[in-house]
Each structure stands twice: as C-alpha cells, then as structure tokens.
C-alpha cells in the first residue's frame, strides 16, 4: 500500500526574511493609506505593475489578499455576504471572498500585521489576461470608493502571438498614463519606469531559477513551499526587495541540493500540480502527499510569475509580450506543449489537475487535456474537484481517497 504518515514541511531559513518583505509591503501601504502621503494603485496580479511603480504608486494586489483570505480560512465565512449582494457563488471566489470580507470589515492583515483595513485605492488597474472577473471585482471597489477604474483588455485563447497583437497591448498600456497621472500618480518618468521593468525582470529570472531547482532529484522544495515563497514575486516585483529576497532563497535552495537535503525524505513520486492552489487546504494536502513520499515538484501556477520577456530597452512592448504570452491566455495546444516541456524538465510521474469550481480559466482539465497528455507522455493524471477559496466546493475525504488511490496506482506501475 501507499505508506501514509503525516509529515510537516521543512522550514526555510529565509522564512523570517519572507515575513519581513511582506510586512514591509503591507505596512508601507497602510501608512500611505492613513496619511495620504503616497498614492495607492490596486493592480491585478498580472497587471501592469511596472508602469504603476514607475509612476510612483504603491501597489496593492487584491488577489494576494484573496489568497490570504483562503489560506487563513476566513473565506468561507465571508463569501456568503458577497453572494447576497448578487455576486454568484459560481464566479471567482477571490472576488467573492474579498468583497465579502470588505463588507464585513474583516481582513487577515489584522492578525498578521495589526492592520485594520485594506489600503484605500486612488486608482484600480486591471488586465483581463487572467479573466474578466478581475475587472468586475475592481469595478465594485471603483463604485464604492468613487475612484477611477482603468485597465488592459487582452486577447484570449491565443496560440501564436503576432507582432500586431503585442503592439496593440503595448499601446493600451501606454494609453493608461494620462489616466494614472490624473489619478494622482507622478508625472510619467521613462527612466523610473525602465528601472521598474529591469527589477521585475531580475525578480523573474531569480524566481525561475528558484523554481527550477525542483528539477533536482530529490527536489529541495515542493509546490506547497513555492506557493508561500512566491508572494514577493507577486507583490514586490519591480522593486529591489523582490530581487534581494530571491537571491537569498535561491542560495538556500542550492544549498539544500548541495547538502542532499530533500523536501520529502525518501522522495518516491514526483508530481505536477495544474491549476489553482486550494489555499485553505495547503497544509493538509502537503502533509498527505509528504506522508505518501510524493513531492509536487512543479506547477503552472507558480510558473505564472515568470516574465523574462521584460526588457527595459523596450518597456511597453516587452510588458505587453510578458503579460500576453502567459499560459492562461493561450490556447489548448500551447498549454499542452508547455506541460510536456515541464515534464521534460522536472521528470514528474503524475499530474494532479485541480478543477476549481469558481475558476474556469485556471482549470485546464475541462477540454480533454489530461487524456491527451496521457496519450502523448504516458503520464497519468488525477482530477480533484475543489476551489481556490470556497471550501464549500471541496470534499476533503473524497480528495484524500483520490490522492491515495492515485499514489497506489503509481506504485503499481513501479512494480
């Protein structure tokens, strides 16, 4: 049988530094929100953050807050309040948990940083590259705070990306400048903007290097570790703090490889996670898989925050390219090829597809991909039903059984 023991994740020496980066981020926003000294832009997680940094805004990411609501398991309590306001239980549960929490005047920032409320925005900036929900989400706050809502409308389901498409997105980004200046941003400064793009690129390169250390056998870390350590790649990209953090993390990961330190002692199975994390169940899933000697070595989700296309020599165009070439924007053929390339690099022997009830754009099992990948690579897949934040859509027992049975299946294949 699949030998199952509960094993906790190994802690990282740089965890303290991670906490500091995140605390600095939120406390700076809180101070600005209270004093009005700096302008605050809310930005979708793969929105045009570098431009905002380049215009002197402090940047707050509601999706990061959504993930915190999920991880702290506050989401289930507050989602119903957004549902009652007409926001369906079937749409993005980041949206419903974030708006529900706001309506209830609750935030996980209170417990984590003694911050009473999310920072007040001066402008809300989205990119629909992930989904339309970010725009609808921000629109609610735009109405509530009576502040401008601006953004980029991207292409969807694209295979090859043409130059004209990149040019058009670049133009949309550039066209944001007058609105952002009017919303209180500093006058656009090309040098400052280029600097932010350059720092984002460095952050991305380091983040990729960190993720790719998991190609080592045994892997020095797991997807569950990475979901925690990716926070600066989201909130501190375009800053020196992001670069500094990943230099430290990369050093530690390399040290683990050199020292033969495995994330999972006796690593027996290597898995790929496709889809959103189940934030409220990270620990439970991590411990179950560790107990089964299974290491989730890579994920599409964590790879999302790699934007190596960024180039400070052509900032608008390279931003357009980086934010349009994302996995989530692409067609099925591209996505399939992408996962196959990840298989070549990480040598995983199974894929877990998370079918997230409220996140269709990030649930890639729905158009036959698991079956096609199995045909092309021979790698079996497991589909688990759940959600990023709404644990009403999650059956713990059924998921546990499915995972255990999947590992049994992999073990049978090893006999």
């Amino acid at each position: 049988m699949a030998d199952q023991k509960t094993i906790k994740r190994k802690t990282f020496e740089c965890s303290g530094k991670l906490k500091q980066v995140m605390a600095d981020h939120f406390l700076e926003l809180d101070r600005a929100s209270q004093s009005g000294d700096s302008k605050i832009a809310w930005c979708s997680s793969v929105g045009p953050a570098e431009l905002l940094r380049g215009m002197g805004f402090l940047v707050y990411y509601p999706e990061n807050h959504g993930a915190m609501l999920g991880a702290s398991r506050m989401a289930a309590d507050v989602i119903p309040y957004a549902n009652a306001e007409g926001y369906s239980p079937d749409i993005c549960s980041y949206l419903t948990s974030d708006i529900g929490a706001f309506l209830q005047e609750k935030t996980p920032l209170t417990k984590a940083y003694n911050i009473s409320a999310v920072p007040r925005p001066d402008v809300l900036v989205f990119n629909t590259n992930q989904c339309r929900d970010v725009k609808d989400w921000f629109a609610w706050y735009s109405r509530h705070f009576n502040v401008p809502l601006v953004g980029v409308h991207t292409y969807r389901e694209i295979g090859e990306i043409g130059y004209d498409q990149i040019k058009e997105i670049a133009k949309q980004i550039e066209d944001l400048i007058p609105d952002l200046e009017a919303a209180g941003g500093a006058k656009f400064d090309m040098d400052r903007f280029k600097e932010a793009v350059g720092l984002s690129k460095k952050t991305s390169q380091l983040w990729r290097a960190c993720l790719e250390t998991a190609s080592a056998v045994p892997s020095p870390w797991t997807f569950f570790d990475a979901t925690i350590h990716m926070a600066p790649a989201v909130v501190a990209r375009g800053t020196q703090a992001g670069v500094d953090y990943y230099e430290i993390l990369l050093k530690e990961l390399k040290g683990r490889i050199k020292g033969g330190i495995a994330a999972i002692e006796g690593e027996k199975h290597r898995l790929y996670w496709e889809g959103m994390p189940i934030w409220g169940k990270l620990r439970a899933l991590s411990e179950q898989l560790s107990g089964l000697k299974a290491c989730v070595v890579a994920s599409t989700y964590c790879n999302t925050w790699i934007y190596e296309q960024l180039d400070s020599a052509k900032p608008f165009e390279s931003m357009a390219q980086a934010y349009t070439e994302l996995f989530i924007v692409r067609d099925e053929a591209y996505k399939e090829q992408y996962i196959q390339e990840c298989h070549d690099l990480y040598q995983f022997d199974g894929i877990i597809f998370h079918d997230a009830k409220t996140c269709p754009n990030n649930s890639n099992n729905r158009y036959g991909m698991p079956e096609r990948l199995r045909g092309n690579t021979g790698v079996p897949a497991l589909i688990i039903n759940g959600d990023l934040n709404d644990l009403r859509c999650y059956s713990e027992e059924q998921t546990k059984t499915n995972i255990e049975a999947f590992i049994e299946q992999l073990e049978e294949g090893m006999v």
Binding site: M1, N385, Q398, T401, A405, E408, Q409, V415
Partner: protein, 259 residues
C-alpha cells in the same frame, strides 16, 4: 489446527462488509450491515458474523486489510487500501483480463480501468454530487414512498420510457414530482431513475471492451445491469456477491502480505 484465514473489511458510506478468505482464496465467510454511526463497532460486529459463517475464530486471522471511507476506523486492521484499489483487485480476481470496473456505491461511483495484468491505468470518481449513486436511489425511494428493495421489480414492469434530465438529486426529485403530476406510472418513473443513474455513470469515462459492475446498488438492483447492457450493446460481467467486491479485494491484499 485450523488453516489461516484473511479478512477484508469495507466500511462504506452506507454499509459495512466483511469477507473471510481461506488460503485458496475461497470466500468462506461474509457479513454486511449498515455502517451506522460507530464504524469500529460495526466492523467488529460484521467480523463476528462472518467468522461464525466461516466457523472460525479471530485467532485464525493472519492479516486484515480495511478499505472504504471508514478504513482508518477498523481497530483490528493491519493496513489500509483505498476502495478504488480494492474494488479493482476484487473484480480482477473474478475476471482476470483488461476490464473497466464500474462500482456504484452508497455515496460515490467509480470507473476504474485495468490492464490485462490487473494494473490500474486510470480511475475516476463521481464529482461531489450524489447523482447516480445509491444515495440518489435511496432519496428517490423515500420521495416515491416505496421500499428500496421493491425498486428492481417495479422497474421491470415499466412500459413507458420516462426521462429525467437533471444532474442534481434535488432537481431530479422535482422532476419526479412533475412526472407524478403528469400521471406517469410508478414503474415507469423507477425505470427512469435507473436510466438517470446509468447516464451519470456513462458520462464519467469512456468504457473499455469488457465491463464489470460491482457494488451494493448492482447487488440489489440487477435490472439496472440489464439496462446498462442494453445501453452499451454488450454483456456486462458481475462477480458473485458484487456488494462484497471491495471487501473481497481487501482480503486478497491481506493475503499478499503472506501467511
């Protein structure tokens, strides 16, 4: 001295089943009862009944493997296996070739594909909802106010096809009320319920050439198997005592540990 015996315990969402095998893999004892609210007690109670049937005692047991939702609640178990693994094992024992196993349980359905060596190629469980499971039929029997055990004979008397379209058990119940209002006969509605279960099963996965069905619903509703055969146009294999397939597989795993 009595020969050693091997025990499989399957604590399902609805019922608990215990099997006892002799070293020749003969099923010499079995028992089942409602899982109830104390899985440990139910397992012990079933074990005692099965031992009585086999005319053996607990000291003859070499190894026990438990499975099902309550697999971790069996105090006398040596190890656990998932119900997916155990149903596959149990069915492959009876039909040792490449098979697709369809198990209809009290609370979930499984479609498991095995290669000719009995290794799992893939498996799928129903999504969270109860549609297509034993729980669905239980709910409907209550709505129709007919005993669960009468459904099979009623379905066989159907003369007209009644279609129920919904995925959802609650919506299906509303549809059933609608059919009653329309004056549809109870046997036709019951057959419509079976058809609904079959549709939920067939949309889970593509079936291989040889299909095996197991589980309590199959044991007590054999007409449903006949309807599946009609639907897919080929014979469906059913092991003896299909409700015991998981417990039987668990006992086979117990035996693999050695005597």
């Amino acid at each position: 001295m009595a020969s050693p015996i091997f025990t499989g315990v399957d604590i399902g969402a609805s019922r608990t089943k215990v099997t006892i095998l002799d070293p020749q893999k003969n099923l010499i004892g079995r028992a089942e009862k409602k899982s109830g609210t104390d899985f440990s007690d139910t397992a012990v109670s079933c074990l005692e009944s099965a031992l009585k049937m086999a005319n053996r005692s607990r000291t003859d047991i070499v190894k026990t493997v438990s499975t099902g939702y309550g697999r971790n609640n069996v105090t006398f178990s040596d190890r656990t296996k998932t119900e997916i693994g155990c149903h596959a094992k149990g069915c492959y024992f009876h039909f040792p070739k490449a098979i697709t196993v369809i198990d209809i349980g009290g609370q979930d359905n499984k479609v498991i594909k095995l290669d000719e060596k009995g290794n799992r190629i893939s498996f799928k469980m129903n999504r969270k909802c109860a549609a297509g499971t034993g729980a669905f039929l239980e709910e409907m029997s209550m709505r129709l106010d007919i005993p669960l055990e009468d459904m099979d004979s009623l379905a066989r008397k159907a003369t007209e096809q009644v279609e129920l379209g919904s995925y959802c058990t609650v919506f299906s119940a509303t549809e059933v009320l609608e059919k009653i209002r329309q004056g549809k006969k109870v046997p036709d509605i019951v057959k419509g319920l079976y058809l609904s279960v079959i549709k939920r099963l067939l949309e889970m996965d593509a079936l291989g050439d040889t299909v095996v069905m197991s589980g309590g619903v199959v044991a007590y509703n054999p007409y449903l198997v006949k309807m599946v055969e009609e639907r897919i146009g080929r014979e469906v294999l059913v092991p003896d005592f299909p409700q015991y397939s998981g417990a039987f597989g668990a006992a086979l795993f117990a035996m693999e540990g050695g005597i």
